[in-house]
């Protein structure tokens, strides 16, 4: 039985910043009423405007940054009614947030190489993950592949480039970095021996990217983890609306579905039928 994490709380955070970040995205900064512990990379929050407008159910977002003990930020791409409603919340107004939720990325030994692969706003969990590696002294064997359709959608790229791990950029239109998909840039690095097949590979981004990533991991026998953007009703395990099919021979194979909100959103590829 998957259990709700013991540290999950529900708060009303106050909007202390909402700077634009790329053409369709902003960084939502929330001040919580109390200090919280650092949240492991890949865990998430459910957000909805406290004024009650917008969809009936909240939306899941990876934790982006924790600038101080009582502040959390989220990378919000405005694509539908949930994110549009969040965009309307003004500075000083409230956002209901339940956090931290779910399970994040595995924390490999600093001696093991880590490869992070993001498409667009799929970058959100990797700023924290990368910083965690830096803090562990593992920057030199950590690589971040950051891809997007266009250069201006490599959100906050300087924040990543300023870190001591290596960042490889890729754009579909060739306007910045490698010209092509982020996976093509990864394949090139794998083939060139600049990235080891023994690394732990972690991906977050659009479903198409994750499917291609899963196929690449299978084809080359890489150990992969994916952060799934499953549609969720509640985020805390009660509604059963975010089932992810499990592999019968995997770690979650005792039941045909895993709850993305409790057992994910990060899953080892061997555990899920993806």
């Amino acid at each position: 039985m998957a259990e709700l994490a013991a540290d999950t709380r529900v708060w009303t955070g106050k909007v202390t910043g909402k700077p634009a970040c790329g053409p369709d995205t902003f960084v939502l900064e929330l001040r919580l009423p109390e200090a919280i512990e650092p949240i492991a990379a890949g865990r998430f929050a459910m957000l909805s405007p406290a004024h009650g407008e917008g969809p009936v159910i909240p939306r899941p977002f990876s934790i982006y940054e924790q600038p101080d003990a009582s502040t959390v930020t989220f990378l919000v791409q405005v694509i539908g009614p949930g994110t549009q409603a969040l965009e309307t919340v003004e500075m000083g107004e409230g956002v209901d947030c339940t956090l931290p939720l779910g399970r994040g990325f595995q924390d490999p030994d600093p001696s093991r190489e880590l490869v992070m692969i993001a498409g667009g706003v799929g970058s959100a969990p990797f700023l924290g993950y990368g910083r965690q590696r830096v803090a562990e002294g593992a920057a030199s064997n950590t690589t971040y592949f950051f891809g997007a359709r266009t250069g201006d959608r490599l959100y906050d790229r300087s924040k990543f480039e300023n870190q001591s791990f290596r960042t490889v950029l890729a754009t579909d239109d060739g306007s910045l970095g490698f010209s092509g998909s982020v996976l093509d840039s990864l394949v090139e690095e794998l083939d060139g021996g600049r990235v080891s097949r023994e690394a732990l590979f972690c991906a977050c981004g659009p479903e198409g990217l994750l499917h291609a990533f899963a196929a690449l991991c299978r084809e080359r026998d890489l150990e992969g983890q994916i952060s799934l953007e499953t549609y969720m009703g509640c985020g805390y395990g009660v509604c059963n609306a975010c089932p992810v099919p499990t592999r019968p021979d995997g770690a979650l194979g005792h039941w045909p579905w895993a709850k993305s909100c409790l057992e994910g959103p990060v899953f080892p590829l061997e555990a899920v039928a993806f």
Partner: protein
């Protein structure tokens, strides 16, 4: 101020979780403050494990949700072993919810609940719109009577029945349940609905049809609570779209003795506590206790103009 009596139980608050909206187990109770929740109604248990329906299982529209989970649960044996022991520690009465396709299924789950110390009452889910088979229990009074009588015989606890809104007239069903030994009626389950993506020309849910819940169904549930509570003498538990303290108080006025909160808990897991606090404040301002309101609807031909615009 909030205490109420429902179908054989004394409750600290008229607020309950709606079955299927607060989990299979009591783990999410940590979000709620003591004294706010009257009873924990758990997700439906069926005799055999059910893997549930194919995704997508939920979709939304302005004002509500459409869901088709399909009673996913790991079956009675698992539940007895893994969930039942957790219930004895729960501070509020726990209501087990029984589901199935046949009379025997409902009886098997009721019998198991009957012997469990952690279960204070049983709610029969005669009305899930998202599974095949067993539809006659929610649409035919004779079938409903048969299953309720059979469960009544094996149960030593209060028996509640959750009714369907997907019938022309709920009253004959409600009366049949009362006559067969039900101690309370939950009114109502979700309304059968469909959402369609016009571009792909496909339903939004994997199973197509689903159950509509959320604020959009409130007036329908309100009407049914009024109709049913006017026609039976056992208590009615409202379920359908309540998300604000005012909604709960209105359900009490319309004839409910208690109110289940479902979809509202998805937006905030502590919604029940927020609603309870709002109710206390409204009741206090008006010098009332919750039980003063039950069934107090003044239907004298005049309507109430909206006070705020």
């Amino acid at each position: 101020m909030l205490s109420t009596r429902v179908g054989g139980l004394e409750l600290e608050s008229p607020l309950m979780t709606g079955s299927g909206t607060f989990g299979h187990d009591p783990l999410a109770l940590s979000f709620l403050k003591e004294g706010d929740l009257g009873a924990l109604v758990l997700k439906t248990v069926t005799p055999e494990p059910r893997t549930g329906n194919s995704p997508a299982r939920m979709a939304e529209f302005p004002g509500g949700l459409l869901n088709s989970i399909g009673l996913e649960n790991r079956g009675l044996e698992y539940w007895k072993e893994s969930v039942a022991p957790l219930l004895e520690e729960v501070a509020v009465p726990v209501v087990g919810n029984a589901g199935g396709h046949t009379v025997e299924d409902f009886v098997a789950v009721s019998e198991a609940f009957s012997g469990m110390e952690g279960i204070a009452a049983v709610e029969l889910n005669l009305s899930c719109p998202n599974v095949d088979g067993g539809l006659h229990f929610s649409t035919r009074a004779d079938s409903a009577a048969e299953v309720v009588s059979a469960c009544r015989r094996v149960l030593d606890k209060p028996l509640w029945v959750k009714l369907s809104p997907n019938v022309t007239d709920t009253v004959p069903l409600a009366r049949a349940c009362e006559e067969s030994g039900a101690d309370a009626l939950t009114v109502c389950n979700t309304l059968l609905g469909l959402l369609v993506d016009w571009k792909s020309r496909k339903p939004l849910l994997g199973r197509g049809y689903g159950g509509v819940s959320g604020p959009a169904v409130l007036p329908i549930a309100m009407r049914l609570v009024h109709q049913v509570s006017s026609s039976v003498s056992i208590p009615v538990i409202a379920s359908g779209g309540a998300s604000r303290p005012e909604d709960v108080l209105a359900f009490l006025v319309a004839g409910a003795s208690a109110v289940q909160i479902g979809t509202a808990s998805f937006r905030r897991p502590d919604a029940i506590s927020t609603i309870a606090a709002g109710m206390r404040s409204l009741l206090q301002k008006n010098g009332l206790v919750a039980s003063d309101l039950v069934g107090s609807l003044k239907w004298d031909g005049g309507g109430e103009k909206p006070r705020e615009n």
